[in-house]
């Protein structure tokens, strides 16, 4: 693969990495965000730390490929190995600056469904469930979700809110219900980046990935998408970002372009 070309997943990792500020405590999660943490830590955010819910804190990313956060290379060299309730304590105290959550379905107000498609008793699809997703969505200061951009995944309203975003979109929805964290900041997809306005509300098209048209994005989105006034093109991954992504995922397991 030439360094001038990249897969949509590599772009998503680079975009996710840029969401991590230097010094952030990041609730890392799985798959692409594990790579994003490694990229950020080795480029613009050398002071970032990664918290893994099963009970790990790291500064340096693992020195080998990870299929899960519990793989032995993620434990070797950890700053702290502990019980899950201790990682949840930091989350509950509002000390987690940024969380990443994977989702099967997201809606215009950033609510995620990873539980039930259709009826709850006899669902059309039983998805795996919350894991730590609901905890991150409710308690981290801000969070970002990454997913494939398909009409069946970006829906007007999810039928089941596993991990709450801004609820029904009315101002103050989170505060009134006692949700302590700030809610979703962005949805990073294979086609574009959607962002939420300060204080919450409806996701807006913030940037379109290189080579993707706005029409394409709209055709694959389940609601009438509003564009931000400064809508632009997503900056592609630079050489350093790509080099780190390929070092952390040498066989392209997560970023090689397969689903």
């Amino acid at each position: 693969m030439a360094t001038s070309s990249y897969t949509p997943q590599e772009l998503m990792v680079a975009v996710a990495a840029r969401e991590i500020a230097d010094g952030d405590l990041v609730f890392v999660g799985m798959r692409l965000p594990i790579l994003a943490f490694g990229v950020a830590r080795n480029t613009h955010a050398p002071g970032a730390r990664g918290l893994f819910e099963l009970g790990l804190l790291r500064d340096q990313p693992a020195q080998a490929f990870l299929a899960t956060m519990g793989d032995p290379p993620n434990v070797a060299g950890a700053l702290w190995a502990t019980r899950m309730s201790n990682t949840m304590a930091l989350l509950a105290q509002g000390r987690v600056d940024l969380g990443f959550i994977g989702g099967a379905e997201v809606d215009r107000f950033g609510n995620l469904n990873t539980s039930y498609v259709g009826d709850r008793v006899r669902p059309a699809v039983k998805l795996p469930g919350s894991g730590g997703g609901a905890d991150i969505a409710i308690l981290s200061r801000r969070w970002v979700t990454l997913m494939n951009h398909e009409k069946r995944r970006l829906v007007d309203r999810v039928s089941f809110i596993t991990s709450p975003g801004f609820g029904d979109g009315t101002p103050g929805w989170r505060r009134e219900r006692g949700l302590r964290g700030g809610g979703p900041a962005a949805i990073v997809t294979t086609l574009c980046v959607l962002r939420f306005p300060e204080g919450g509300g409806e996701a807006q098209l913030a940037s379109v990935h290189p080579g993707v048209s706005e029409e394409q994005v709209r055709a694959e989105t389940g609601w009438e998408l509003k564009a931000a006034s400064d809508l632009g093109e997503t900056p592609p991954p630079d050489e350093r970002e790509l080099a780190w992504i390929r070092r952390l995922d040498p066989d392209g397991h997560w970023t090689g372009g397969r689903d």
Partner: protein, 292 residues
């Protein structure tokens, strides 16, 4: 004690069982497979996630209820047997009590501390509150009802015959699971003399008084990783995900890896172990418990 005897004696039909308490590592697959071989029925499985063990037991017809935050195959995605059970009642109907990782931990701590519930702010605004009768919103807080398992099954790196279990790496909800459960079954990579465990009592997870069975079962967590002993067998999870897409494929897999082997020793003999055993060791510095 053998795993066969431990399951025969301490996991009757209808038991509620915690497994996979450390999340991705140290999952007691050998214990779950023995429950399948003994045709256990109407189990309640409790855990945070289970990385395909729960999916296998559901597909084998052992399970009436799941109390968990996540059921699937961590590196591969959906749990196909979980889907068939929840969507079509195959092979048997399944009751699901949803949790988040945080709330399932609190449910076990509540049982460990012997209180009816613990209050929290997680799950506010989530529909998970509507799919678990043990969760209730009261005055702006979520009350997480205690979950009291009959038995917790934990795989650890080492234990002694008296049941002092020592594990390292991330511990997930293993401690609250063991404290909450009526009884604990241990499986261990190494069965060690008590001089070893007593040399480092901080490392011991639980009071030995909870432990009813210690099973020396090296490789008992495969395909999940065991720090210092076993890598995660990603290819094995991938193969399972592929084959369990259909009922027939799952039955074939089950025959090959569970029903067609008498015990974990025979299972390991069937497994290509090259590259799975960890050979590069990183020992911690000893600590000093000197008292005078």
């Amino acid at each position: 004690m053998s795993m066969r005897e431990a399951v025969e004696r301490f996991v009757p039909d209808g038991s509620s069982v915690v497994m996979g308490a450390c999340l991705e590592p140290l999952i007691p697959f050998a214990a779950g497979h023995e429950m399948i071989r003994q045709s256990r029925r109407d189990l309640t499985l409790i855990g945070p996630i289970s990385d395909s063990l729960f999916d296998q037991m559901i597909g084998a017809g052992c399970v009436a209820r799941v109390v968990a935050a996540w059921v699937g195959n961590v590196s591969e995605g959906l749990g196909h047997n979980y889907r068939r059970a929840a969507e079509q009642g195959m092979p048997r109907p399944l009751e699901v009590h949803d949790h988040s990782n945080f709330s399932v931990s609190l449910a076990l701590w509540a049982a460990a501390w012997n209180v009816p519930y613990l209050p929290t702010v997680t799950l506010l605004g989530s529909d998970v509150l509507t799919t678990n009768p043990g969760l209730e919103e009261v005055d702006g807080l979520v009350h997480v009802g205690a979950v009291r398992p009959d038995v917790a099954v934990l795989h650890v790196q080492r234990a002694d015959a008296a049941g002092r279990a020592q594990a390292w790496g991330p511990l997930g909800i293993a401690e609250e699971a063991g404290l909450a459960a009526g009884e604990v079954i241990l499986s261990c990579e190494e069965l060690v003399n008590e001089e070893v465990t007593l040399s480092d009592p901080n490392r011991t997870l639980l009071p030995e008084t909870k432990v009813v069975a210690v099973v020396h079962e090296p490789g008992g967590a495969h395909p999940s990783p065991v720090q210092g002993h076993w890598r995660r067998d990603h290819a094995f999870y991938r193969d399972y995900a592929r084959r369990s897409r259909t009922v027939e494929g799952f039955q074939e897999w089950l025959e090959e890896w569970v029903l067609g082997v008498p015990d974990r020793g025979a299972y390991l003999a069937r497994l290509e172990q090259d590259g799975l055993r960890i050979t590069h060791h990183r020992l911690s510095a000893p600590v000093d418990y000197g008292d005078e």
